[in-house]
Symmetry: C2
Subunit: 305 residues, 2 copies
Amino acid sequence: MDDFLKKLKKNSHDIDEFLNSYLPSGDTLNKKLIESIRYSAISGGKKIRAFLVIETGKFLSSIYNKKLSKQKFNELRAAASAIEAIHCYSLIHDDLPAMDNSSLRRGKPSNHVKFGDYTAILAGDALLSWAFEIIGDVNFIEDARQRSDIGFVIAKSIGANGMVGGQQADMDFSYQNTLSLSEIEWIQRHKTGALITTCCQVACILLDASEEDKKSLMDYANNIGLAFQIADDLLDINGHEKLIGKPVKQDDKNKTPNFVTILGKEEASKRALKTSKEAIAIITKYHPNSENLVSLAKYTVNRDN
Amino acid sequence: MDDFLKKLKKNSHDIDEFLNSYLPSGDTLNKKLIESIRYSAISGGKKIRAFLVIETGKFLSSIYNKKLSKQKFNELRAAASAIEAIHCYSLIHDDLPAMDNSSLRRGKPSNHVKFGDYTAILAGDALLSWAFEIIGDVNFIEDARQRSDIGFVIAKSIGANGMVGGQQADMDFSYQNTLSLSEIEWIQRHKTGALITTCCQVACILLDASEEDKKSLMDYANNIGLAFQIADDLLDINGHEKLIGKPVKQDDKNKTPNFVTILGKEEASKRALKTSKEAIAIITKYHPNSENLVSLAKYTVNRDN
């Protein structure tokens, strides 16, 4: 696991470097906005989504017996960075007082605590637009059809029928204990699952994967997303604020039902483990040379933050 | 002008129809979100930006002596609708309590007044994503390079160095009377000008316009955007709340310096008229058959809302 954590850290560093080098300088009247984007977007973090894009790309290139060219790697990294910009926007907006009202993120004050509410709203908006600027940039991804398809699948997965729809339901059903397990699953699938699955889809577009391979990899990603979420809910009960870098028992405070409140700790732990194992089964049956994707599946349920 | 207003109304109706037919049904846990998107996005409005996209497309096709095909018209309409979705998102976020705190929009309660703050934030986020879904959809725009280029120029024009950067500066310099005329112009060019100019650019991409034609049309659009903004600032002083459908003297309340507070009413009126005339000069010198674009330039400074 130590070796894997090193890879994850290097990946996070690479993505930060990409985002940093492409971020506008902000030497005019929008200075505060750029500062607040930099504060949240270039700040470490696990960057699981970027890792998933890049490792899926490497995996596909290995099963197709193709050497991953420098150009293709750069394309994967650009798409991965755009997805992290989107993830970052969603965290900034989720933390707002009108939303989860969370004051801590990645071990430091949330964007709105540091820069104020309107700047945080605008920083999120700008990050979302920026992601589509990266995706549409001919300097990053060569093929126009791939640029367009990537923009399309990402947009779909984060909209009203994807991530934002999930966050809406999460907010609407706070303080209500009437949600069923299948409704909790609906929220997870939309709020966090959709974008994670899209990470694999984006790599499939860039590597021209077959429909069959795309299906398997998206199935793998579905399991990763679910295992990750259940583990998150467990960490929310068990974790230490210092380690996870955000306030714990947050869901309890806002009384949002989640996998742990519905299933109980023991059953939720079992379910997370089973889901992680399903992800591993899909990927190893598929191709034995899949070390990093297997490690990622293990990591989803074996992390302390 | 009556004839022009009819055309504008018909265009607004067409765009509403497009957006309505493509909006997800929202029969699941995201029901409230879809309802709030529908409330703001499909609600009349002038839809100047959509008009500008479509009329620029028609104009280009006329100067190139090409009949505008049904397919190409549909592509213009899809791109125009995506831009209106973006404009709508920006209005919803601008109206938020953390931003301009405006309770009235298009003659009815603002989105956050009707649906609450978090839903309004998420409705804006979803509309922004939706716009890129429309742009990336092969069912709407046929050519992949055009889809990708349109996504790119729009994303660039609404991000930190475009619309959102302008809104940030507008907020940062509220309650400060230290802004110079060139700084006010910077804010206008970013906050409202950038997306309006992009409307013409998008039509140029769809009609494969020459670089020279693109330059002229974007120059025309720059003038339209500026005239529109100065006229807006004048309406903010002179207009009647009932007619313009949003609270007047809003800028006075928030003490944001604008063209009128800097130049005075008389000088600002002169400047708006001059800018509108410049737009007309560009387009008529260019080609005599430009009735709708000329009417639009006149309308920017001759409207009561």
